[in-house]
Symmetry: C2
Subunit: 306 residues, 2 copies
């Protein structure tokens, strides 16, 4: 399985348009040791020709252009065979509305995520210019499904989704009750090689199910939004805590690094990293702690073969 | 008046994600003489500190980062005081949903454009996290209005909007009848210097009103979507003609270059240039014709002082 990180930042990216915090200002000034990052999305392929995106970031156009594997091979074409959505947050879905050039799209998501993006959404009509412009294939929880091309051919990748701790997207808060389908983890297996990618980009808690999946994984991507619960409050005193935003912090005795310390050595990466996270500074004690624990940060352009 | 072109391409940008036409494929391969372009947006300011955007492209995050004038000066800040929308097309509005980090926004638009983006739009709730997150200031046709800061201070720029030939955004087609408020031209005057910018990014016809405004302008930006009516059909035989998409082609005896040939020498730029347009190739006869007529193409990063 080939893996390409298209974007590795949380919503807003790094730097963020309205943020002059030490990380963002330092990155712009070139005075901190850190990399710019676009919003989280990862491309995967079993054969290097037919690709699937994990999430559709608002920056999808630049992300596609930055990776030759996703460039068209004919006048009207895209190697993107499908897009999987892990939740309905706009930093994961808004990119769909940038793929509106009358091109057929296949989207794998739970029914709850589909409805949260398409119901009462007049903008979505831009993807309804002809019958079948978007084909939604519903990911059923805890049931394996093939990642297939638009034409319905198997590609050798098999996915399984399960409910993870999370919350409703901001734009649905107050409209309906949360559902187990709102936030999913993904385990994607290459049936030829047995390589397994576990993708947990937004999770509020590490439960046994996540640990078990991580133990089996050839490669793990995990929610690296915040280092600590009150990190945002150093920028904005009224900001919510990490837990209120359904992100488990990386640091601390209850954090993800501690919770996942039993994992064997291997490919473990934090992704969906918020601009406020001190770990972004590669000379910080937090980043040193990540490396010592056998982890690293995903970065835009990172490629792996599993 | 300071002017910075943030993006100069039509919807989809150049190259376009699903397009392998000679222009797009050649740009990716480095075999054509052309520049990559993001989707159309222009920033203007009377004082170099308080800026207004003309349209909010889907690529607004990268566009802001590429221009130091728009970087925050404090931990939570943006020099963007307001955004003007010339119509409700998603390539002009979608960027609003990328400015959702709980930051107050001011948007100048007609009531028709506001309603077309916000009514029955569940995604827009992401900009309704607190009262007053977005302040819509309605542009009345043919009535001058001050471009003011969020706090209501005048900035020395005075705008006037008028109805231009156009059509409904794709996502509203079939939902309601067209309105004169759907597509506007903008004339923006710096009251200190008298400099005037005329901004006509999407127009289906040049009428007397556009010619009169262009004759008065210190600088003109004009719709450069297509060179010819049937340009898209060379890529996709089922594609609509330029006129069906409400864009007046640049070339031909009835095109914009011919229609505006009476303009005095000065700053005249085509903007909103589609990936299919042969004018993008700087060694093409079409581009030579543009230069001979005293025009040029806007490009990402272009700056002017009027």
């Amino acid at each position: 399985m080939q893996v390409r990180v298209l974007g590795s930042a949380a919503g807003g990216g790094f730097p963020q348009w309205n943020c002059g915090c030490p990380n963002c200002a330092g990155l712009r000034a070139g005075t901190v040791r850190a990399r710019a990052r676009t919003q989280e999305s990862v491309a995967i392929s079993a054969d290097g020709a037919r690709w699937f995106l994990l999430n559709a970031s608002p920056e999808i156009r630049a992300q596609v252009e930055a990776f030759p594997g996703l460039h068209p091979k004919r006048p009207r074409h895209s190697p993107i065979e499908g897009i999987l959505l892990t939740n309905g947050d706009l930093d994961h879905c808004l990119g769909l509305l940038s793929l509106r050039e009358s091109h057929p799209l296949v989207v794998y998501a739970t029914r709850a995520v589909e409805e949260g993006f398409t119901r009462e959404d007049v903008l979505y009509r831009t993807l309804q210019r002809f019958d079948g412009q978007v084909t939604w294939r519903h990911a059923m929880l805890d049931t394996p499904f093939d990642l297939m091309t638009h034409a319905g051919e198997r590609t050798g990748l098999i996915a399984r989704a399960w409910a993870v701790a999370g919350k409703l997207p901001v734009h649905l808060e107050g409209l309906r009750s949360p559902s187990p389908e709102d936030n999913i983890g993904l385990e994607i297996r290459d049936e030829a090689t047995g390589a397994t990618l576990v993708y947990l980009a937004s999770v509020g808690q590490v439960r046994d199910r996540e640990v078990e999946a991580a133990l089996r994984a050839s490669c793990l991507f995990f929610d690296g939004t915040f280092w600590s619960s009150d990190e945002l409050r150093s920028i904005d005193p009224n900001a919510p805590r990490a837990e209120q935003m359904a992100h488990l912090p990386m640091g601390g005795s209850e954090g993800s690094l501690a919770r996942l310390r039993e994992l064997p050595p291997g490919r473990r990466f934090f992704i969906h990293i918020n601009n406020s996270n001190p770990v972004l500074r590669e000379d910080s004690p937090e980043y040193a702690g990540v490396r010592e624990a056998g982890w690293d940060l995903a970065w835009d352009g990172m490629e792996l073969t599993l």
